[in-house]
Structures are given as C-alpha cells and as structure tokens.
Subunit: 280 residues, 2 copies
Amino acid sequence: MKKVQEHASHGGMQEVWQHHSHTLGCDMRFGIYLPPHAVHAQCPVLYWLSGLTCTEQNFITKAGAQRYAAEHGVIVVAPDTSPRGVAVADAEGYDLGQGAGFYLNATQAPWAENYRMHDYVERELPDLVEAHFSASNRRSISGHSMGGHGALVLALRNPGRYHSVSAFSPIVAPMQVPWGEKAFIAYLGDDRDAWRQWDACELVRAAADSANKLPLLVDQGEADEFLDTQLRPELLEAACRQSAHPFTLRRRAGYDHSYYFIASFIGEHVAYHAAALADR
Amino acid sequence: MKKVQEHASHGGMQEVWQHHSHTLGCDMRFGIYLPPHAVHAQCPVLYWLSGLTCTEQNFITKAGAQRYAAEHGVIVVAPDTSPRGVAVADAEGYDLGQGAGFYLNATQAPWAENYRMHDYVERELPDLVEAHFSASNRRSISGHSMGGHGALVLALRNPGRYHSVSAFSPIVAPMQVPWGEKAFIAYLGDDRDAWRQWDACELVRAAADSANKLPLLVDQGEADEFLDTQLRPELLEAACRQSAHPFTLRRRAGYDHSYYFIASFIGEHVAYHAAALADR
C-alpha cells in the first residue's frame, strides 16, 4: 500500500492511498481523512460512497467534510466507485462499467471478474483501514446518489456492521428506475429475483420482521434533476412505512443533485454519525 | 449578462454569470455567492482572486467559503483569472497568458489589447455586481497565490476602495521571483521601474509616508512547495517593518499550497472581512 497524496487539512491530514485489491483484482485508490484526534487515539470511521462518474477525489475536494470530521474526531474513508484499469471491463456511457460499480457483486460476464464493490467496501477496505490507520472497528456509512444506494444496501445487508447509515439523493429503488435497471441487467442478468438483494426498498421489506432495524436517514433536494426519474424517495418512504422501519426523509427546498447540496448538509450528517459512533 | 449556473448552497445561492467585458474585450464569467441575507437587504462584497490555472470554478467548488459567507451575510465574487477566448492572446505554459493574468494592465503586444485584469476587478466587475445584485458598495478583497498578489496590489493601489485585504500564500514580490519576472517581462516590458506599481513590497515602500495604511493579513503554509522560490513572505514582512505598515503573517505548520489549505482557514478570513465590512 502506498500513499499517493497528502494534504494538511483542518488540523488533520487528507491522504489518498493506493493498494492492490484482491477482491477486485486491480489497483484501487481511496481517500482517508485523519482528524487531529487520530494522532493520539483510535477513531471511528465513516465510509463515504460516491456517485456515478466519481473517483476517490470528488468527495474529498468538494464536500468540505474535513472540518466536521476534525470537530467530531471521525475518520472519513472515500473509496473509488468501481474497479479500474485497462484490464477491467468497461462500457460506453457514464452509467455502466468503470465509475459505475453500483456497490454490488456482479454475476455476469464480463463484469463478474472484477466488479465486487460490495465485498470490497464491506470487508477488504475496512480490514485495510483498521490495520494501517488509527481506526477503531466502529463504522458508519453514507453516500450520494449511486453511493447513497450503496450505503443503504450495505447497511441493510449487513446488520450490526454499521452503527448508522445516511444518504444524500440516493437511488432507493434501482429495480424500478432506468439507472438501476440498466446496471442490474448487465451486472446481475435477467432474473429479477436476483436483483432484490441489491435494492434498498426490497431489503427493507425483507427485513420487516427483524427485531433490530437500523434507522435510515435521507436528505433529498427538491430541485434535484433526477428526483422523479431515478431517485423516487417516496418508494423507500412507503416501504419503510409498510415494514415499520425507522426512516427520516428531509426534503430540502431548492437544492439540486450537486456537491453544493452535499456541502450544505454534510455537517449535519457527520454529526449524526459521530453521535451514533460515540462509544458510550 | 446571463446566468450560466445556479445551485442552492447553505441557504443562499451559488451562481455563475457570463457577460461581455468592455475592459477586457471578451466574454467573462464570474462566480457569485448570494447569502440568505441578500434576499432582504444589501450585503457587502468580498472579492476573491484565484491563482494560476484557475477559472471562476476552483474557488466556488473547493474552498467551502459559502458556509461562512452565509453565516456572516457577505456576498463572495470570484472572477476568472484572465481574459479568455480564441481571439485572446495566449502562451505555452501555465504561468503566462490565459489563466495567468496577474491582475495587472499589460502594456506590451500582444497582451495590451485584452490583459487589463486590474481595471476589470477594480472597476468593471464591482460596477456590475453593485448594479445587478443586492450588493452594497462596501468591498473587501482576498486571493490565493497569484490572486493573493492581485488582492494585495489592488488594495495598496486603491486606498479607500477596500475595507480589508487578506491573502493565502501570495506572491508578495513578483519582481524578485520567477513567476513574476516572466509575467512582468511579457506584460510590462523590460523597464523594471514600470514593474514597481505591480509589486506589493514596492507599493508598501512607496506608501511609507501615507497616513492611512490598510493592514495586510497573510496566511502561509510552511509546507508550501513554492514557499522559498516564488512566495517569500519574509520580503513583505521586511518591507512592512521598514515602512511601519501593519502586517500579520500567520505561518501554518504542515500546510501546502492547495485548496485544502485555503478550506482550512477561509472561515477565519471571511470572519475577518465581515468584521471590517460591518457598517458600524
């Protein structure tokens, strides 16, 4: 593992590391913000999953989360959005292939060989982070758009693994929207039953009888250009109501799908996760 | 003048506008952040001048100033760093021509025709902003690197025009460093006497007998890769000492030349300017 970037930031360090991922079969980069507290003590970790077209750079340059992570003593880890490299399958279009891993484990050729972002984010990345940095095993997860889908799905699929989950403008029902359908047909094949384990609405319904439901927090801009076609938060709201799953949806008048929206409310999300991560 | 971008941000609006500049003879873009206060009342304006290679986008996407501008009720205007367009002179290299206007008025061919960034920032842009937005005529100015040079020079050349000035990692003595010498030879010609009016250290010395000296505030990262070759804040420190010019230099251990540095301290700068701009 090698450090490819480092910048002092809000009293801590914003770093980017590169390593060979055995899960994905390629070299990967991730951003990690180490708050001042991490010099002296183990800190809990917030995982951030970015949206379509992003790399590990977008969140660390545009969201302004470092200030809040420094304030609360939380490490923030931001991986890339897919496997990468000339040997990794890709497709025309921004919404499939590299930059569009959808945080699932693909089963179909040519994707199955590398596209295992779920296992990478859920297991390999935390193992690395907890072995090489001053990180505790207390984890939370958040993300934006495709990454909001990823955060919700990872938290719902892995009960007990995350202390809290939140999302900005998430794709909540990939089985019912164009971005999700295109990706699921390619990565998972035609059997729609196999899709259910990667759809937040379906996972909420499947866990209706669970005793221990992790609350879901979603912020959604009402001027989001993808609101009615790709995001449709009302579908998750309905699923949560039917399944008595704790759900908070904050509709924000005037806000769009951009990082300006994320930057405006990331402080509230970091505070939310920090409270859940506090070892009390 | 037309709006080319708008995003809700921290309760206000981050917009980008395009207009034809009569000073520069080309179309120009600038970012403007309108805090929530601007809906109901005129707000003072902080002008931000960016560094080499930047457009109007860098500061508005990476610095995170909107949060503080919203808090203090300050409008923030971020122009491009040079005239632009296929009809505008340009050069090989990132440090001359488009993206590298140095906030001066060029006198030499082929630059003299369009490169009048001093007059644009000092006069045309505020006239536009104060005519079209809820902006008062109370102005402050700040910037980074080449833009820090620009902020210092504009404030020193135009006494009374700005309520406060600050800079991050500024080029303080362009006559004595490679970036400045290359630009001044091209834009101003070989007569080094003509350079003095565009060099902060020389302007401080020339105003030694002035009764009304605007304090200069500079933040400088000690891990800045350009510190000893291009920036050399000790030269401005010495000039201010000799001329009894109020000067605060904050050396920040570990910080580099990037936007991570700016983002870490922009809150303190916005608060500093807001206090100076307050109509008391």
